[in-house]
Symmetry: C2
Subunit: 578 residues, 2 copies
C-alpha cells in the first residue's frame, strides 16, 4: 500500500528524508524565485489577456499540487510565455478580452488542459507528445517568441493593436502607429534597453569591478524587480498616468479565489483542440526542462507521473482563478541554481506569492504596462533561435522542411495552425521516408559467407536467383512499395526462378505487410518463381507462425542467407559473377 | 523523344505490336464485357443517386482515356460499387438527389478526383495511398458492402428510405416498411434469389448436366442480363408500372454529352475532402486488381502512371456526363478471362456501350429499379468478408483494432468518418509501436564475439559498462523514449561509467533523434558516464558526420560491439557474470 501511494504521490518519498539542512536550502531558493516570479507572473497574465492578479493566482495553487504529484525535484510550475500566448490565441477568437467571459473561458481552458494531462497520465498516453518532433518544437518556439515580442510592442508604444499572428499584428501596429504615446514609449524603451543590458552586460561589468560571482548573479536576477520599482515610482511621482501611460491599476488584495470554470457545451467544444495543443506543448517543454535538471543529480523523471503532476497543477489553476500553466525553463533553472533540493521549495514559493497577493498588490497600482511588456520582450527574445534552420538543413532536408513550414505557418496563420501543420508534416515525411525503404540487391562476397549490395561490392550472384535485403521494418506504408519492387524486378528478368528476401533488418511485419508477402508469394508462383526468406528475427518469426503464410510459402525459411543462396542455386546450375 | 512519350502514353508501346490475332481476342473480350456492363452501369448510377444513363456515360470516355494512359493491359475502368456509394454519401449531404445540381456536383466530384489523381501521378505522390493499411481497406469494403446492400433494400421493397450509414438506413427502412409495394417486393425477391442461385448453384448444375465449362461460365455471366430482360418484359406485359412498380423510365438516346462541372467555390470546398478520399480508395482498389492481373502474365504496373491513367479517366467522366470511376474488380477479371490482350479491348467495350446508349435505351423503359437493386445486392455481398476480423485478431491486436474501428465507424457514422478514423488509427498505432521500441541490454556470449540479450542468454557483463541495443530506427516518435530509458537505467545504477549504444538495427537517425543523442551524451557526461556507439551503419554514419555530435561525443564510435566492450572494460577492472 505504502509503495502504491508513493508511486502516485512522489511527495511521500522525499518527505521522509526531509531535514533542517534541506529546509534551509529550500527556503532560500523559494525566496529568490518568489522575487523573480512577481513581475514575471504579472507580465504573463498580461500576455494571456488576463488581469494581473491571474498571473499570481496561477503561480500559487499549481506549484503546490505539482510539489505533491510531480517527479522533478526542481521544476517550477506556473505561467510561461508560449502557453500564455497559446491561451490568448485560443480565447481571442471566441470571447472578447477584458470581459468576465474571457476569464471564465481561461479557467475552462486550464481545467480541460488539466483533465487531458491527467487522462494521458492515467492511461499512459504520454507517447502522444512524441508526435512533436524536435524541429517542429524548435520552429514553433522561435516563431512564438517573435509573435509574443510583436504582441507586446503595443504596450511599449501605448497603442491598441490586435492579432494572433505576425501579419495581423504588424498590420494593426502600423495602422495605430500615429496614436503612439511618447511618454509610454520612453518608459518602455528605457525599460527594454535596461533589461537587455542587465542580461548581457551587467554581469561582466560587475565581475570586472571585482564583485563576487554570486552577488553578480543576484544583481542580474534583481534587474526586472528594479525596473518595476523604478518605473512604478516614476509614474507615481510625476503622475504619468495622467499623460496617458497605461498602468496596472487596482488589483484585488486577496488569496487566490475559489473559481468554477464555465461549462457551456459550445465553449467546451471550441476549447477542446486548443486545450489539447496547450497540454502537449506544455508537457514537452516541461519534461525536457525536468530531464535536464534531473540529469545533473542523477535523478529519475517518470513521464507518466509528470503528466499527472502537470494535470493536477492545471486543474488547481482552473479552480483558483488562474489559467494554463506548465513547468517553466527560466524559473526552474533559477530554482535549481538557488539550491532547491525538493519540491517543498515550490510550496514555499507559493507561500511567498500568496503573501505578495495579499500584501503587495497596492504597491503595483502605478506599475506601467510598458514595463511588463519590456520584461516579456527581453525574456522571449532568448527563445528566438533561427540556427535550427541552418542545423536541420545541414543534417536532413525533411527535418528542415518541417521546421520551415512550422515557422512560416505559425507566423502567418497563428500558433494552432503552425504546430498542427508541423506535426502533420513530420508524420507525413516520416511515413514517406519509410514508405520507400532502401532495398539492396545483394550477392556473396568471395571467400566469405557475407552478402553485400551488388552495386557497392564485387560479389558473386546467380542468374536464376535474386536476393533482396530490405533495410526497414515492413508495415502498411511500405507494403505496396515492396510488392511493386519485387514484381518489377522479376517481371523484367525472365531468367529468375528464386527470390530470397533477406530479413536481417526487419524488426516487424504488420498485417498489411503479411498480406503483401502473401500476394507477392502468390504472384511469384504464377510467374513460376519461388519465394524464400532468410535471417528472420525471432519475434518476427513468432508472428509469422500465427498466420497461414508459412504454409503457403512456395520456398523455405533459412536461418542464414548463405544457406538460402546455396540451396536455391543448387537446383539451377553454376554461378555467374557480378 | 519517342521514349519520353512512351513513358507517359503506354498505348504507344503496345500499339506497335498490335496484329490481327490480338484484335480478334480483344474484340471477343469487349463483347462479353459490354453485355455484362450494361446492367451493371445502370445499377451503379442508381446507387450513386444519378439517372441510369450516367452509368453508361461513365463507362465510355473513361475506358478510352485509361486505354491510352494506363499501364495495365486488362484493367476495365468504370463505375464501381464502393466509389458509387462514396459518391452518394459525398453528394447526399450537400445537394438534393434528383436535382440538376446533384448531377452537376457529381461531375465536379469526378473532375476534382481526376485532378487529384493526375496531380499525385505527376508529382509522384502515390505513396499517400500507402496510408491506407490493408486491414483498414478490408474493413472499409466489408462495411461499405453492408451499407450498399441495405441502401438497395428500399428499391426491393418499393419504399422511400434515406441515410448514408447503417443506423440511419435501418431506422428509415423500418419507418417506411408499412408502405411496402408487394408487387415490387415479389419482383425484387425473385430477381435477388435467382441471381444468387446463378452465382452459386447454376454452374455446378450445368456441369453435372454435362455442359462444357466455357458454356457454363457464359451462362453464369449472362444471368444478370436474363433477369433484366425477363423482369422488363413482365412489367411491360402485365402493366406492373401501374401497380406502383418503379421503373427506369425514359432514358435519353444519346452519345455521352459534353458537360462542364459546376464551379461554385463553396461546392468546391465541400467536395475536396470526399474527392480526395474517393481518389485514394479508388486508386488502391484499382492498383491491387491491376497488380494481380499483371502478375499472371509477368507484366509491369507503374503506380505513378496508373494515377495518371485513372486521373485522365475521371476527368473524362466529368466532361461527359459521368461520375467518379476507377478500375473495377469483377469487370477487369471478366475482361482478362475473356482473353483481352491490350487496352484496345477497353476501347472496343466503349464502342459497344456507346451503341447501347444510342440504340438500346428505349428497351429499358420498363426495367424495374428492383431488378437493378437485386444486381447490386448480389454483387456487393461478395465484398462482405468478416474473416478479416478473425485473421487480424490472430496476428496482431493493433491491426485488429484498426479493422474493428473502421467497420464500426463506417457502419454507424458513414464512409468518410470510417475510412478517416481507420487511417488515423493505423498511423497512431504504428507511431505508438515504434515509439516504444524493443531495447535489449546485451552481454557477451562466452567463447564468441556475439552480444545477446542479458534476459534470454547466459552472457558476460561488466559492472561499470552497460550496452543497449535498440531494435528500431531512431526518429522523433521514439527519441524521448530513448532518453527516458537510458537516463533511468543509468540513474538507477551508480556503478555505471560507460554506456554503449549498439546501432546494428538502426536504419536511420533523424534530427530529433540526433538532438536526443546530444542531450543523452550531455546528461551522461554530467553523471560522469561516457557514451559510445558501436556497429553504426554506413548511411547513418554519413549523416552523423554532417552534425557536431561526433565532436561532442564523450566516448568513441567502434566498428564492432566486441571492440567497444573491450575498450570500455579495459579501464574499469574485471568482468562479472550475469
Amino acid at each position: 500500500m505504502q509503495n502504491r501511494f508513493s508511486k502516485y504521490i512522489p511527495a511521500l518519498t522525499w518527505a521522509r528524508e526531509y531535514d533542517r539542512t534541506i529546509l534551509s536550502n529550500d527556503l532560500l531558493a523559494a525566496l529568490i524565485v518568489t522575487i523573480m516570479l512577481i513581475p514575471q507572473s504579472l507580465a504573463y497574465a498580461l500576455l494571456a489577456g488576463l488581469p494581473p492578479e491571474a498571473g499570481l493566482y496561477a503561480s500559487i495553487a499549481p506549484i503546490i499540487l505539482y510539489a505533491i504529484f510531480g517527479t522533478s525535484r526542481a521544476l517550477a510550475v506556473g505561467p510561461v510565455a508560449v502557453v500564455s500566448l497559446m491561451t490568448a490565441a485560443a480565447l481571442g477568437n471566441i470571447v472578447e478580452q477584458g470581459t468576465a467571459g474571457y476569464a471564465a473561458a481561461a479557467l475552462l481552458l486550464a481545467g480541460l488542459s488539466g483533465l487531458i494531462l491527467l487522462g494521458m497520465g492515467l492511461f499512459r498516453l504520454g507517447f502522444i507528445a512524441n508526435f512533436l518532433s524536435h524541429p517542429v518544437i524548435a520552429g514553433f518556439i522561435t516563431a512564438s517568441g517573435i509573435i509574443i515580442a510583436a504582441s507586446q510592442l503595443k504596450h511599449i508604444l501605448g497603442i491598441n493593436a490586435e492579432g494572433h499572428n505576425l501579419l495581423d499584428l504588424v498590420m494593426s501596429l502600423i495602422k495605430h502607429l500615429p496614436e503612439t504615446n511618447w511618454v509610454t514609449l520612453l518608459i518602455g524603451a528605457l525599460a527594454t534597453g535596461f533589461l537587455f543590458w542587465v542580461r548581457k552586460g551587467l554581469k561582466p561589468t560587475l565581475r570586472r569591478a571585482g564583485v563576487s560571482l554570486a552577488l553578480a548573479d543576484a544583481a542580474t536576477k534583481a534587474g526586472p524587480v528594479l525596473v518595476v520599482v523604478l518605473t512604478t515610482l516614476a509614474v507615481w511621482v510625476f503622475g504619468l498616468d495622467n499623460q496617458g501611460v497605461k498602468i496596472v491599476g487596482e488589483v484585488p488584495q486577496s488569496l487566490p479565489p475559489l473559481t468554477l470554470p464555465s461549462f457551456s457545451p459550445e465553449l467546451f467544444r471550441q476549447l477542446l483542440l486548443p486545450a489539447f495543443l496547450i497540454s502537449i506543448i506544455g508537457f514537452v517543454e516541461s519534461i525536457s526542462v525536468a530531464q535536464t535538471l534531473a540529469a545533473k543529480k542523477r535523478q529519475r523523471i517518470d513521464p507518466d507521473q509528470e503528466l499527472i503532476g502537470l494535470g493536477a497543477a492545471n486543474v488547481a489553476a482552473s479552480l483558483t482563478g488562474g489559467f494554463p500553466v506548465t513547468g517553466g525553463f527560466s524559473r526552474s533553472v533559477v530554482n535549481f541554481d538557488a539550491g532547491a533540493e525538493t519540491p517543498a521549495a515550490g510550496a514555499f514559493t507559493a507561500v511567498g506569492l500568496a503573501i505578495a497577493a495579499v500584501a503587495l498588490t497596492p504597491l503595483i497600482f502605478f506599475l506601467p504596462k510598458a514595463t511588463l511588456a519590456a520584461t516579456i520582450i527581453v525574456a522571449v527574445l532568448s527563445l528566438v533561435d533561427f540556427s535550427i534552420l541552418k542545423r536541420s538543413w545541414a543534417y536532413s532536408k525533411a527535418d528542415f522542411a518541417a521546421v520551415f513550414i512550422t515557422i512560416l505557418l505559425t507566423l502567418t496563420l497563428g500558433v494552432e495552425a503552425g504546430v498542427s501543420a508541423g506535426v502533420g508534416l513530420s508524420i507525413l515525411l516520416h511515413l514517406y521516408k519509410s514508405s520507400r525503404p532502401h532495398i539492396a540487391e545483394v550477392g556473396l562476397v568471395r571467400g566469405t559467407e557475407h552478402f553485400r549490395n551488388v552495386l557497392r561490392h564485387s560479389v558473386k550472384t546467380h542468374p536464376n536467383v535474386v536476393t533482396l535485403r530490405v533495410d526497414e521494418s515492413l508495415y502498411f506504408a511500405n507494403a505496396r512499395f515492396l510488392e511493386d519492387s519485387i514484381q518489377n524486378r522479376v517481371a523484367g528478368d525472365p531468367d529468375i526462378r528464386h527470390v530470397i528476401l533477406q530479413c536481417s533488418a526487419i524488426n516487424e511485419i504488420d498485417f498489411s505487410a503479411l498480406e503483401s508477402l502473401e500476394a507477392i508469394n502468390k504472384r511469384l508462383d504464377e510467374m513460376d518463381v519461388k519465394l524464400h526468406l532468410s535471417e528472420v528475427k525471432g519475434p518476427v518469426m513468432d508472428r509469422l507462425e500465427k498466420s497461414h503464410f508459412l504454409d503457403e510459402l512456395t520456398g523455405q525459411v533459412f536461418l542464414t542467407q548463405y544457406e538460402a543462396a546455396r540451396v536455391a542455386e543448387e537446383g539451377c546450375g553454376t554461378a555467374r559473377s557480378g
